[in-house]
Amino acid sequence: MDTTTIQLLYLVILMIFLGVELIHHVPSVLHTPLMSGANAIHGVVIIGSIIVMGMADDTLSMILGFLAVLLGTLNVVGGFVVTNRMLEMFRRKS
């Protein structure tokens, strides 16, 4: 394995520990918004779809790439907006 791959593996392992630490002791009231927020964050997959689309050169790749960017955008935009709406409900009203 080359050094880049090894470095990526280091990063993966460290991120696993960080993810576990971040979620510890979250009150159950916030489970749903937290899940929804995490859902929006994995929308980062859109970056990959933009790269694929930006390098596509035949019709089939173009169509599938377009679809990928579209679905990724749904994940990102929908995810963040839904989370925001949920959290709005938690605001203390005076």
Partner: protein, 464 residues
């Protein structure tokens, strides 16, 4: 080497970490979400304008990319803004499925562009894993969506577990052969996608609707891992960090959710709520007589009570009775009755579901009491008003080891002097089991739609 894009990715990664951290506390959750969203915007813009391929060329097809971004944003925004608060869980599931499908398409296109032989084992593994996990996440999320919309029931057949395992095994073997370059035909990877989609469907089919939050949370972490596979393929740090972070945090969240129901993940995924025998057994035993109460009687009981505890459940959400419920609370308070809400950690279809709903109706946050705090108060409570909740107040969880929900902590409403249960019919709860609470001498049933019953109650209480 131009370091601008990697630095933008680093900034985005940090916003994801800070955002997730802030989502864990009620005070900071909202800004946390916004910070992560800003980071996402930075990563997307940076990629479009600064990304360079191996040969140093910028991305083309920018018109198409912007087109997809704009259409996706408009649709996503409209869907997210229009969805009712009660339908939030299935909305999350839907968006999660979109992310999974996106990851699967990336793998498919990458395989098509690079070709089977040239991938190499590392990228080969990441590509097939992204396709496999992304496809399962997509089809599984769609089934979970359908179940929560109550368009799809629980589908079980004998030997289901064996069939599922066989399909999964077939998918893994096929994926292995493709990743190692033993099969290089493009149709094979299409077949793999197909098998993975079928597995996702069959995997979620038998799981009870009440367990969908756990399933969605699990599939959420799946999509995270699928995104990370994409990061591995392109050596893209922000995808890798964002993906793994969600994969890991999502797994922990899944386990925490199971724990709050006092069950294990295996139990949730594979027990199918203990089959039909347990249902028959408890059903047989509890056949007693049920006492009905009229709205005016219930209104009298509550008006002259010292303390009323309202136990909201999914029925409240479906009937959209939260505003009427808040009105009843105010009318009772005006008569000097103390009103509290007892919120079970898994009441509704998702943890925190009831809090969101009641907050929407302007119910004071301090009136929502968590299970451990309210349980000792039930013996001093005159009336416990159960609004469309069932499994979370089923005493069988404490007394009947054969019950599928045995061991789940519940709200001890049966200790209140009088229990009034608002329910549409005598139908069993989402877990599909009888509730002996309804047959207890201190329980009275108020049949009907939660919203109209609640409105009638308000009128009756006002008139007193």
């Amino acid at each position: 080497m131009d370091a601008t894009l990697p630095i933008l990715y680093l900034v985005a990664s940090v916003t994801f970490i800070i955002g997730l951290k802030m989502l864990g506390s009620p005070k900071t959750a909202r800004p946390g979400n916004l910070i992560a969203a800003v980071g996402m915007g930075i990563a997307i813009a940076g990629t479009i304008f600064l990304y360079k391929g191996h040969t140093g060329e910028h991305l083309h097809n920018l018109g198409w990319i912007f087109g997809a971004l704009v259409i996706g944003s408009v649709i996503g925004w409209l869907m997210a803004m229009r969805v009712k608060m009660t339908a939030m869980p299935q909305m999350v599931s839907f968006f999660n499925g979109m992310g999974g499908a996106c990851a699967a398409l990336i793998s498919l296109l990458e395989y098509k562009a690079v070709g089977g032989e040239a991938l190499g084992i590392g990228n080969g593994l990441a590509t097939v894993a992204g396709l496999l996990i992304g496809s399962v996440s997509f089809s599984g999320s769609m089934i979970a969506f359908g179940k929560l919309e109550e368009k799809i029931g629980d589908i079980r057949f004998s030997g289901q577990q064996i069939v599922n395992n066989a399909i999964l095994l077939a998918a893994i073997v096929l994926a292995g052969l493709i990743a190692t370059g033993n099969i290089t035909d493009f149709s094979a990877i299409i077949l793999l996608a197909g098998v993975a989609l079928v597995f996702g469907v069959l995997f979620v089919f038998p799981i009870g609707g009440a367990d969908m939050p756990v399933v969605i949370s699990l599939l959420n972490s799946f999509t995270g891992v699928a995104a990370a596979c994409g990061g591995f393929i392109y050596h893209n740090m922000v995808m890798l960090i964002g993906g793994i972070l969600v994969g890991s945090a999502g797994s922990i969240l899944t386990i925490v959710m199971c724990r709050s129901m006092n069950r294990s993940l295996t139990n949730v995924l594979f027990s199918n709520f203990g089959g039909t025998t347990a249902v028959a057994a408890t059903g047989e035993k509890s056949q007693g007589s049920v006492r009905e109460v009229t709205c005016s009687d219930a209104a009298v009981m509550m008006s002259y009570a010292k303390q009323v505890v309202i136990v909201p459940g999914y029925g409240l959400a479906v009937a959209q009775a939260q505003h009427a419920c808040h009105q009843l609370e105010m009318e009772l308070e005006a008569k000097g009755v103390t009103v509290k809400y007892a919120v079970h950690p898994v009441a509704g279809r998702m943890p925190g579901h009831m809090n969101v709903l009641l907050a929407e109706a302007d119910v004071d946050y301090d009136k929502l009491v968590e299970m451990d705090e309210i349980n000792p108060e039930f013996p001093q409570t005159d009336v416990a008003l159960v609004v469309g909740a069932n499994d979370v107040v089923n005493p069988a969880a404490k007394t009947d080891p054969s019950s599928p929900i045995y061991g789940m902590p519940i709200l001890d409403v049966e200790n209140a002097r009088q229990v009034i249960v608002m329910k549409r019919s005598m139908r069993a709860g989402y877990a599909g089991i009888e509730n002996e609470l309804f047959f207890r001498p201190n329980t009275a049933m108020l049949f009907g739609d939660a919203k109209s019953s609640m409105t009638n109650l308000v009128t009756e209480v006002k008139a007193l």
